[in-house]
């Protein structure tokens, strides 16, 4: 992502809502894409993206201008996404457990995905553990260098290397299984 004018960031931190709106508009596309990939749900990504920018607004005064602003925004987005995943997992635990003893209303969400290939890639991503998935999205979708991903995620560069390798192995295995299954039909 492009870096913004530091003056714009300072103005927003001082309460200039017009400046802050420019920041939101500069990053909203990429933050939403990141969340969309990480969470695998377009509606949830929109909700969490809004939360990300509200968190960003609250924490702007604490931004140290030595750091890279885009990485900082990604860090906030990543933390908000992890919070959302924790909530989703809690909900799933409760719902799955409850479903064993009660009839539900059957309402389920939809992420609105279409197309077989897209479903396949979404499924492969969704099958990854959270730590691998966030790394893949930052490296593959946004092309961030490992050092920057390391900063966003908060683990050493060596861990990013091994995560990318493991993620590729897993996603390839998933894709092959899907192809084989399709071939058998």
């Amino acid at each position: 992502m492009d870096e913004l004018d530091p003056e714009m960031i300072r103005a927003a931190a001082a309460g200039d809502l017009a400046a802050f709106e420019k920041i939101v508009r500069a990053y909203q596309q990429n933050i939403w894409r990141f969340l969309r990939r990480f969470l695998g749900d377009a509606a949830a990504a929109e909700d969490v993206a809004q939360e990300v920018f509200l968190r960003l607004y609250r924490s702007l005064p604490s931004f140290a201008h030595q750091a890279k602003f885009s990485a900082w925004v990604f860090k906030i987005a990543r933390n908000a996404a992890l919070d959302e995943l924790r909530r989703q997992k809690r909900r799933e635990r409760l719902m799955v457990a409850a479903a064993t003893v009660a009839v539900t209303d059957g309402a389920t969400g939809s992420d609105g995905t279409t197309g077989e290939a897209r479903v396949e890639i979404e499924a492969a991503l969704a099958a990854l553990p959270d730590d691998l998935r966030e790394t893949v999205v930052l490296v593959e979708v946004f092309g961030l260098p490992y050092a920057e991903v390391s900063d966003v995620v908060g683990v050493p560069v060596g861990t990013i290397k091994s995560r990318m390798f493991r993620a590729r192995e897993r996603m390839q295995t998933w894709a092959r299984c899907a192809e084989e299954a399709a071939g058998e039909l």
Binding site: G15, E46, L54, R87, L94, A99, D105, I121, S162, R168
Partner: protein, 628 residues
Amino acid sequence: MSCDATRLAVSLRCDGELPDGPELDELDAHLAGCDECRRFERDAARLRARLRLEPVDEAPDIAAGVMAVLQASTAEAPTSPDRVTRQRARRRPAASGTAGPTLVTPGRRPRRPLVAAAVAAVAGIVAGATFVGIGRTPQSPAAADIPSEVVAAQREVRSVDAHFEVSESDEPGTRTGRLAYEAPETLALSVEGGNTLVVDRDAWWQQTRRECSPVAGRVSCPESIARWVTSVTGREPFSASAPIPLELVTPVDSFALAATPGGTGLGVRTIVGHRAVGVTVTAAQVAPFLSGLGEAAALRPVYPADPVEMWLDADHLVPLVVEVRAADDAWRPRWAAAQGVVDRPGDTIVSFEVTSLRVNRPVAGDAFDPPRGRPDATVDGGFRATRTTIAPEPSRLPEGFRPQRSGTVTAPGGPRVGVRSWSDGRAWLTVRATEGWRGGRLFGDLGPDVRPIDLGPAGQGYVSADGRSVALHGDGIDVVVGGSLAPSQLQDVAADLGIVGRVVPPSWSEAASGTLSGTVQAVPGLLAPRGLDGFGSAAVRSDGQTVSLVYAGPGDRGFTLVQDPATSQLAPSGAGDAVGVTVRGVPGRYSYEQGQLEWVEDGTSRALRSPSLTLGELLAIAEGLAPE
């Protein structure tokens, strides 16, 4: 070069992270001769192409929503996370400084005690036994999960804005209300035609309706006394005397000790667009929630054994629906008559239902405005924020906890108390300390029954029966740790304060407290509950040969087992309502009014006492007693 090393190098090269060097030649040489590794490289490229080129949905316009929220909530500069609070602080009424620290809330309908329980069948049919972890039917896994999920979820709740409706069987119609909350200590609760409570960190207001009581010589009541506003300034962090009803946000106290039983699962449903999970509990268990709601709604009395359906938002565990029904219970009509209410079994007597809910979204700043006009009574709680305080700081805090208010509390005639506080979302933690304590009992109001615990290098600690406070009696300093965390976490904090706790002096009432194992050795023949779930560990007290085991549960639930090997006969009953029951195969008696089940077994008199459990539950506990 092995296949694993090759694929790792391929992965790095793919991302532009493989430095130039002789390894590149080795890599290419391996790839030239290995089909599987070439396939790995080819598939990696395909995956990248799909991930980067796959069109995703058009990004929505996030900015419009964000800016609308920000413009609605505040126009101030984001110079501090508590900017809204500081803006409101300027509007606080000045402290009069004339009143003492004790709070009086004129006009508030006093919360009536949840009196002695009763149950349908005197013969011991355990109608209420499903709420005790003995002899119960298997719980739904969802219900079993709720206690731990509630405690965990509180840390993720930063704000709540909810509108709700509340109705009661003895009041016509439905009243609307609103709950607004910003972590950790800012909350506004109001109910139509009822009270308004606003808590804003160190300030607290309650506006109540004041019924007029003409005194001699006064012909009529002036209209201006129809409302009464009490204001508290200098409120101590997370003060118990100027309470903030956090149970409405996340019902931690109602579930913290519920352990795995939790109640009976009701399944799932969608409430105002939120997935909700339901559980059946008792009114005694959710007493903290009802008490919190009662701060604004002045609720009618409920019977401890009344069944309650509680539905919680599955994401944040915020209560969405709470429905209290009248229990079908032989003793309940007499209880109701004493309370001046008439209920039919199964009637819904109190209903709370959220009609809109927003969690972790900014709350409009005016939601926390204090009641208009000059307060009718102002109380100074005595707290002042100070840079330094005698309250020690733990060397380690639970992850995510950040410092909140700290300072000193001074009250006329009372000790000088240092306070520190921390929070993470709705979860909170305080350390209070005083020097030169001469209270003759543990500092910190732990209650009459405490549990001594070994804190290792931190020496002797004492835990309240409900596990929510941990006290240390140190050299020249007395400290108490409190909070909404699990008891084990509070004990960890107490152990990290750098204070070595000593055993309390023999003259202090807590000196009669002991451990269960130590007491059993000193007093043979004692029985203790086995396989008990949904209650904390016992606080043990010995008074000569009489031993009391006190068990606290979630909310107001709890019981005491009293055993006296020196008494082999039941004393004459002072209760006029005692009835005969069979307990563990021997004759016993039960008083509904006193909530006490008594019997003599093996030459020892034994009694189970509880103001909140039913006879059925006490009989179930009695059946589970065994030598320790």
